[in-house]
């Protein structure tokens, strides 16, 4: 009886142990992975190693320069050696993550007969035009024609003429012709050519200003800060709005042919800038829109004046009424044409030296420009009001075009001494200015896209429970690929492709960074996590743990008994 009872007890105990062990096994082997799987967030794979490589940015910018020696600049011995190519490298380290290298490939050759004929023109502008008809330089490259000192193309004190396309005329110094070797000649020319390159291609200050997103530089000179604050940041599109402000419709009935003016004057510039950004244009007329400031009457010139201090307060009251296209988030450039009312005409803007401003216009960085157009000269005081006035759009658009150039970042920095710049032509933009803009925009896009992607990767790494969808991973991968291609094209010197890839990179990176699904609202401090899981799992785990402990203690006891039996 007793044996049967003890056997029964043992079998029951065995069954109990088996049950506890199997439950524990199921919990550990099935339950824990299941819980892990169902509570983890979906995170698609990101190319983190490539992103980290990109974070360490080593940019190389290559520019091709062709230096053509006209007749009379080289001696016959030098001419024999002249077709040669030189490569010059300049290295700059901006900070520990960013390094720049500028590579200039300079090809020297002598001028062809057709080029000599073109250089025989009476003025530099005509020479520039006929040189352009001979050959078209690709985007990002330059041609510098070296002309003899006796040439009459340039005035006396000027040594360099920068044309409207991608050519420059450089006058050689007198003593450089006789008895010098080619190396000395090239060495003499080198600083001048460097200067030309800095004006027409890229200079270190421009490129470092374009990198401002990535590197917070200590402020340099005041001009560079003003330049960087004035121009809009690189964006895939811009909106331009032309507004006509008529505060006095009872006196003036204004007519402006804005559509024609935009087609003729502004559209060529925007078409030329098409590789850089898209532009959308609109126009409006606002009636009874006053300036927020009262102009003062200046008896010496019997005109009303706005001095430079009050200009800053003009914009805000007007801006509230301007409106904008609600559909896009592109930056808006506003150009306002203000026709003063009959009681406050004529109205002139004075600068801080109390001088009248010839253009009668001012602009605000990253906002737009305002021009005051006086119409009191168009009608006699006894005319019947309201008078019809046709606005001279050429004059107005001349001012707006200049302001547009400044706001878009086409730098009109002061030329170095001895340089003569050609006026920028009917499109409002010289080819080399476009090249400059493309260089700085490409570098800016690459820097911004790199920063965006690296900070996105860092953010996703830090916050473990943001869901990374497949489309975000796709955007990130395409941004990384475009960035790598853009850097490669910059190295090769293909400026057009580099800009295109950099634009694609920046659009993909912005789309990935600003994706609405990347919002982390799942901030769980550790104590909250414990508070959620303990009531769920603790009651279940306590019996299992206790039974396991019991099994272990029983096994140990049995072993001890066996030991005792042995002895």
């Amino acid at each position: 009886m007793l044996i049967k009872a003890s056997l029964l007890i043992q079998s029951k105990r065995r069954r109990g142990q088996l049950a506890a062990l199997s439950i524990a096994a199921v919990v550990i082997m099935v339950g824990v992975p299941l819980w892990w799987r169902t509570t983890e967030t979906y995170r698609a794979w990101l190319p983190v190693s490539q992103i980290n490589e990109l974070a360490n940015m080593q940019l190389q910018l290559s520019a091709d320069v062709e230096v053509v020696f006209a007749r009379g600049t080289v001696t016959p011995e030098q001419q024999k050696k002249v077709p040669l190519t030189q490569t010059q490298d300049e290295e700059h380290t901006v900070d520990e993550n960013t390094a720049l290298r500028y590579r200039y490939e300079i090809r020297y050759r002598t001028a062809t007969i057709m080029e000599e004929d073109a250089l025989d023109q009476p003025t530099a502008a005509e020479a520039d035009l006929s040189l352009h008809t001979l050959s078209e330089s690709p985007c990002g490259s330059l041609v510098v024609y070296v002309i003899p000192e006796s040439s009459s193309l340039l005035p006396e004190d000027m040594d360099v003429y920068i044309g409207q396309r991608r050519t420059a005329l450089l006058r050689i110094g007198a003593q450089m012709r006789v008895g010098r070797t080619v190396e000395q000649l090239l060495a003499h020319l080198e600083p001048r050519i460097k200067q030309v390159l800095q004006v027409m291609s890229f200079s270190h200050t421009d490129i470092t200003a374009a990198l401002s997103d990535r590197v917070r530089l200590s402020p340099g000179n005041k001009e560079s800060i003003a330049d960087s604050m004035r121009a809009f940041k690189s964006s895939p599109g811009y909106e331009i709005t032309f507004s006509l402000l008529n505060p006095d419709p009872k006196s003036h009935r204004l007519h402006w042919d804005i559509e024609g003016a935009v087609q003729t004057y502004i559209q060529p510039l925007l078409t030329k800038l098409a590789p850089v950004a898209n532009f959308s244009l609109d126009s409006q007329t606002l009636y009874y829109a006053m300036l927020g400031v009262n102009p003062r009457f200046d008896s010496s010139s019997s005109a009303y004046t706005l001095n430079s201090d009050s200009l800053a307060h003009v914009i805000n009251p007007v801006e509230a009424r301007l409106g904008s296209n609600a559909a896009s988030s592109n930056p808006v450039l506003n150009f306002l044409l203000y026709v003063p009312d009959a009681h406050h005409s004529p109205l002139y803007i004075h600068d801080n030296k109390k001088q009248e401003v010839p253009s009668n216009a001012f602009h605000s960085p990253r906002w737009g420009g305002i021009m005051v157009y006086n119409v009191n000269g168009f009608y006699r005081p006894e005319a019947v009001l309201p008078v019809d006035i046709n606005i001279n759009m050429a004059k107005v658009m001349g001012v707006f075009l200049a302001q547009l150039r400044l706001l878009l970042g086409v730098q009109s920095s002061t030329a170095p001494p001895g340089f003569l710049m050609a006026p920028c032509g009917s499109t409002g933009l010289a080819d080399w200015e476009l090249d400059r803009l493309m260089w700085s925009r490409s570098v800016e896009n690459v820097a911004t896209a790199t920063t965006t992607i690296t900070s996105l990767a860092q953010l996703l790494d830090q916050i473990g429970n943001i869901v990374i969808n497949d489309n975000i991973a796709e955007q990130v991968s395409s941004a990384v690929t475009s960035l790598q291609l853009a850097v490669a094209e910059l190295e090769a010197g293909n400026l057009g492709f580099a800009l295109q890839y950099s634009k694609e990179a920046i659009m993909a990176s912005e789309r990935a960074f600003f994706d609405p699904s990347l919002l982390h609202l799942l901030y769980f401090p550790d104590d909250q996590k414990f508070a959620i899981y303990i009531p769920l799992f603790l009651p279940m785990c306590v019996p299992i743990l206790l039974s396991l402990l019991k099994i272990v203690s029983e096994a140990r006891q049995k072993r001890r008994e066996k030991q005792a039996k042995k002895d």
Binding site: T264, G398, A402
Partner: protein, 383 residues
Amino acid sequence: MKILTFFSLFSTFLSANSINVEENAGQFFSSGHTNNWAVLVCTSRFWFNYRHVANTLSVYRSVKRLGIPDSHIVLMLADDMACNHRNPKPATVFSHKNMELNVYGDDVEVDYRGYEVTVENFLRVLTGRLPPSTPRSKRLLSDDRSNILIYLTGHGGNGFLKFQDSEEISNVELADAFEQMWQKRRYNELLFIIDTCQGASMYERFYSPNLMALASSQVGEDSLSHQPDLAIGVHLMDRYTFYLLEFLEDIHPASKANMKDLFKVCPKSQCVSTPGHRTDLFLRDPGSALITDFFGSVRKVEITMETINLTDLIKEAEQNPMNEKPQKVTYSYVDQLPVSEIIHQKPKQKDWHPPDGFILGLWTLILLVFFKTYGIKHLKHIF
């Protein structure tokens, strides 16, 4: 001798003048911003939280008066006090008792209203992660040269701020949102003002550069409300914002008051709580930051020196051939109400439920099993 003194006076006058010009140029560059934005948030609903809406609207009013346009202000009000049923004077929100100052006015543009004011929307506005269909007025389109003013008010505690009585935002989330804004260079400088209980806890965790923060009370202190209006029946404003509004009413767009004056607003004698501020992350000296750098919108201007000489004449637009009339596209409104559904009263597709007999059958089964196991004799206890 006389000529010498005259000459020296003249030269000092000239140098003083040039210093003045230099100073103006210096002002241009000292702040480094070209535009201003404001994000003003009231997080509480219900009629007895009237004062929070009045707080936000009075800051809105000051900011607009000093020049920031509506297109650059994101105003989030969690409840509509002006048109609340209990408002004895509808379409008004007063900030001073005896109904002296109506801060609602007729020119208020609320961007996020009512239930749209959530933690998620607030963080989306700050970080820019809005769905593509969001209109421009609901976005914070700032760039790296924008100074942003962020004003929060409502009920808060140590490390959190309550939104809409159902959720909260923690100071860690707020600090992370600001860091994301910094990473994307969405601000140049940011001024953060919070008027809640234990407000100082909300700026404890900031770690991004160029942030300045002000709070109405320290950790462990409550921010108190100012005065009740007996006709309206609720407290109209909180103390800190009341004295802030009084301070701002003296500021005009050309004023030169700086941040140090702002720190002195509402000392303990007036506010009962101790306002706090944090400037260690701000790179400039607070004394050089003007009030109008954040609350107003003083534009920088430059005179346009160059013009372009345009000589082409405007070409006439081409005439359309007369036989090709432009096609008229007729537009029509989308159905605003599903009228056909309402009229015909077809039963709508409801969610699937198990058939009715199923529940009965289930219970019968359970009872049968029970009786089988425990014996039929218990049946008499049921029936």
